[in-house]
C-alpha cells in the first residue's frame, strides 16, 4: 500500500497525508520520483521536512523543517477550499462503490453505535482537493453497499451527481486496500478494479468485498514494491517500525 500510494503522487504536487501509510507513501515518493512534493498539515503547517516520525499531525516532530506556520483556516480554507491542493489521502472506516466514505462511526455487532474521533478536515479535503486517495483495510464490512455515515462524499450516486451538486474537488481517484488498487469509471464513476495485489485470489477478493466486483479475466497484478522502496521504508523512513509491521 505504501509503494502503491507513492506511485500515485506526481512531482511538485501539494498533498495532504495523515499519519501512517499516507505519510510514508508521500515520504517514499519524495525519496524516489517526486522530490518536490509539498506536504500540508491541517494544524497549519506547510512543507515540513521531518527527521523522525511522531504520533500525529499535532506532534511537533511533524512540523520540523517547515517553511510555513499558519492556521487551520490558512491550510484547509485558503489552500484546500481555494482549490490548490492536488491530492488528499483519506483513511476510511467504510467506502462504498462510488467512493463515498465514512470516518465517523460504525455499528457494533449489537446494533449500537461505535463512535470514532470524527473526520476533522476529511470532509473538507474530500470536497475540495483536486483528487483524493482513499485508504481502507480490505474487509467485507469496510467495502460496503451502504455507509453507516457518509462523512466525505465521493461521487454520491455516480454519474455527474457530484458535479451537479457543485462540489468543487475532483473526487476520489483511487482506493488503495491491502488486497487491490481501484480507480473509478470516467463516466459512471463506479469503482473499477485496476490491479490485484500478488498472492490474492479473485475469490478471496470478492469474498472480502461488500459489493459485487467486476473482476476482468487477466486483471493485472499490482507491481510489488522494488527492493529500493522496501529498503527506504524499512531503513530510513520507519526504521523503528512504528507504522509498518510486515511491509
Amino acid at each position: 500500500m505504501i509503494a502503491a500510494g507513492s506511485r500515485e503522487i506526481s512531482d511538485g504536487q501539494a498533498v495532504f497525508a495523515g499519519l501512517g501509510i499516507p505519510q510514508l507513501a508521500v515520504a517514499l515518493a519524495q525519496r524516489t520520483h517526486a522530490p518536490h512534493v509539498v506536504v500540508l498539515n491541517e494544524a497549519g503547517v506547510v512543507d515540513p521536512h521531518l527527521i523522525e516520525l511522531g504520533v500525529g499531525n499535532a506532534d511537533p516532530r511533524h512540523w520540523y523543517g517547515a517553511s510555513y506556520f499558519g492556521t487551520f483556516l490558512d491550510v484547509v480554507g485558503m489552500l484546500c477550499q481555494r482549490g490548490v491542493v492536488d491530492v488528499g489521502f483519506l483513511g476510511a472506516l467504510e467506502v462504498d462503490a462510488y467512493g463515498n466514505n465514512n470516518s465517523s462511526e460504525v455499528l457494533r455487532d449489537d446494533g449500537g453505535i461505535r463512535r470514532f474521533g470524527g473526520g476533522g478536515g476529511a470532509n473538507d479535503i474530500a470536497s475540495h482537493a483536486k483528487s483524493t486517495i482513499l485508504i481502507v483495510r480490505h474487509e467485507r464490512r469496510k467495502l460496503v453497499e451502504r455507509l453507516v455515515h457518509n462523512t466525505s462524499p465521493g461521487f454520491l450516486d455516480g454519474g455527474d451527481a457530484r458535479a451537479r451538486l457543485g462540489l468543487p474537488g475532483g473526487g476520489p481517484s483511487r482506493v488503495l486496500t491491502d488486497k487491490a488498487v481501484f480507480g473509478f469509471d470516467d463516466v459512471t464513476h463506479h469503482i473499477k478494479l485496476l490491479s490485484i495485489h500478488p498472492g490474492v485470489s479473485d475469490e478471496e477478493l470478492q469474498a472480502a468485498t461488500g459489493f459485487a466486483l467486476d473482476i476482468p479475466s487477466g486483471c493485472p497484478r499490482t507491481p510489488p514494491p522494488t527492493d529500493e522502496e522496501v529498503r527506504l521504508v524499512r531503513e530510513e523512513l520507519d526504521p523503528r517500525r512504528m507504522y509498518v509491521g510486515a511491509f
Binding site: A43, G44, R61, T71, F72, G119, G121
Partner: protein, 308 residues
C-alpha cells in the same frame, strides 16, 4: 514627543480566578489540537470548581475536552473531530456520544472554523462549500443544529452553498508559550483555530508558560495572536498544557498519555484518574508532583533546535 510608557493595567490572575470567569452553561472554545497545546490545567481547574452544562467547541478536540466531557461538565459539543493522536481516541467524548449523554453538533472542521470566522468578523453567517452532499449536513440541518446550518444559493453565481451561523464563544481559552501581563500573547508553531476562536470570543483567557515584559512582545509584534486589550485574564503557569505538548517548551508526556488512555477506557477507570490527578491535588503544583515532579518534567523539556 517623548516615549509614552503608560502604566497599563495588569490582567495577571490565578488559575482559580481565571476559571471562575467561565460560568455554568457557557459556550467555551478550547484551544488545543489533539495532543498539542491543550489548556489541560485549565480543564482540571474547571472540574475542581464543578462547572456544569458547558458547550465546548473546537476544530479538532484533544485531552482538555475529553477530560471535561468525562467529568460530566459538558452538555453540547461543536466540533469536527478529535483524538489523542496515536495514543488513542477521545474515549470520554466517544462514550458520551454513544450513550446520548451529550448533544454533538458534528461538522467538518472547516465549518467550525468558519463559524468562528463569522463571529470574529462581526457578520452573522458564512457561506461554505464543505459538507455538501454529506451526512454531516443532513444531521446538522435536521437534528442538532437546525437554527445554525442551512443550504442556500449564491446570489451571484446561483451555485449551491452551505450557510453556517456565526459562533461567538462566551470564553475562549488559549494555552500559549509567551504573554505579557496586558494579555499580548504570542504563539510559536502552527495555530490551528486559535486566531478566529479568540477574535470571535466575548472573553479570552490566556494561560502562558512564560510571562514576559511588554518590551519583549514589542520585539516581534508580528507574533502576537490578538491584541492585549481583547484579553481578560492572563495566568502564568508552568507546564499548563501537560500532558500535551507545548512547542519549543516541552514535549507531550507519552507515559502519562498512555496512562490516561488506559484509565479513560472505562467510566470507573476515568473516575480513578479524576480522583488522583484532578480532584485530590490541591492545586496545579501538587498535580505536577503527582505526575513525576521536576525530575520527570525535566525529561520533557524541548530541545532548542528541534523545538520538541
Amino acid at each position: 514627543m517623548t516615549e509614552n510608557q503608560a502604566v497599563e493595567r495588569s490582567k495577571l490572575t490565578s488559575l482559580a480566578e481565571a476559571a471562575a470567569i467561565v460560568r455554568d452553561e457557557d459556550n467555551l472554545a478550547v484551544g488545543g489540537f489533539a495532543c498539542a497545546r491543550n489548556a489541560v490545567a485549565f480543564s482540571r481547574e474547571l472540574i475542581r470548581q464543578g462547572r456544569r452544562d458547558l458547550t465546548l467547541s473546537g476544530v479538532v478536540l484533544g485531552m482538555e475536552a475529553d477530560l471535561l466531557v468525562g467529568a460530566g461538565a459538558v452538555k453540547r459539543l461543536i466540533y469536527g473531530g478529535g483524538s489523542l493522536d496515536r495514543y488513542g481516541p477521545i474515549q470520554c467524548i466517544n462514550r458520551a456520544y454513544e450513550q446520548g449523554k451529550i448533544v454533538a453538533e458534528y461538522y467538518s472542521s472547516l465549518a467550525v472554523n468558519f463559524r468562528y470566522l463569522a463571529g470574529a468578523l462581526g457578520i452573522p453567517y458564512m457561506p461554505i462549500k464543505s459538507m455538501l452532499g454529506s451526512d454531516l449536513l443532513t444531521r446538522l440541518e435536521q437534528d442538532t443544529a437546525a437554527d445554525v446550518v442551512k443550504e442556500g444559493e449564491c446570489p451571484f453565481t446561483s451555485e449551491h452553498l452551505v450557510l453556517v451561523r456565526a459562533l461567538v464563544p462566551d470564553v475562549t481559552v488559549l494555552q500559549v508559550q509567551m504573554a505579557d501581563e496586558l494579555g499580548n500573547a504570542q504563539i510559536l508553531g502552527p495555530r490551528w483555530d486559535n486566531d478566529e476562536a479568540a477574535k470571535a470570543a466575548r472573553q479570552v483567557i490566556v494561560i502562558t508558560e512564560e510571562l514576559v515584559s511588554t518590551d519583549i512582545i514589542r520585539r516581534q509584534p508580528e507574533l502576537t495572536v490578538l491584541p492585549g486589550f481583547r484579553v481578560d485574564a492572563v495566568v502564568h503557569l508552568p507546564f499548563g498544557a501537560h500532558p500535551t505538548s507545548l512547542y519549543r517548551c516541552y514535549d507531550h508526556d507519552a507515559d502519562h498519555l498512555k496512562l490516561y488512555v488506559g484509565k479513560a477506557r472505562t467510566e470507573a477507570g476515568l473516575e480513578e484518574y479524576l480522583d488522583e490527578y484532578v480532584r485530590e491535588p490541591r492545586d496545579h503544583f501538587e498535580y505536577l508532583d503527582r505526575v513525576g515532579g521536576l525530575a520527570h518534567l525535566s525529561t520533557l523539556k524541548a530541545d532548542p533546535v528541534l523545538g520538541y
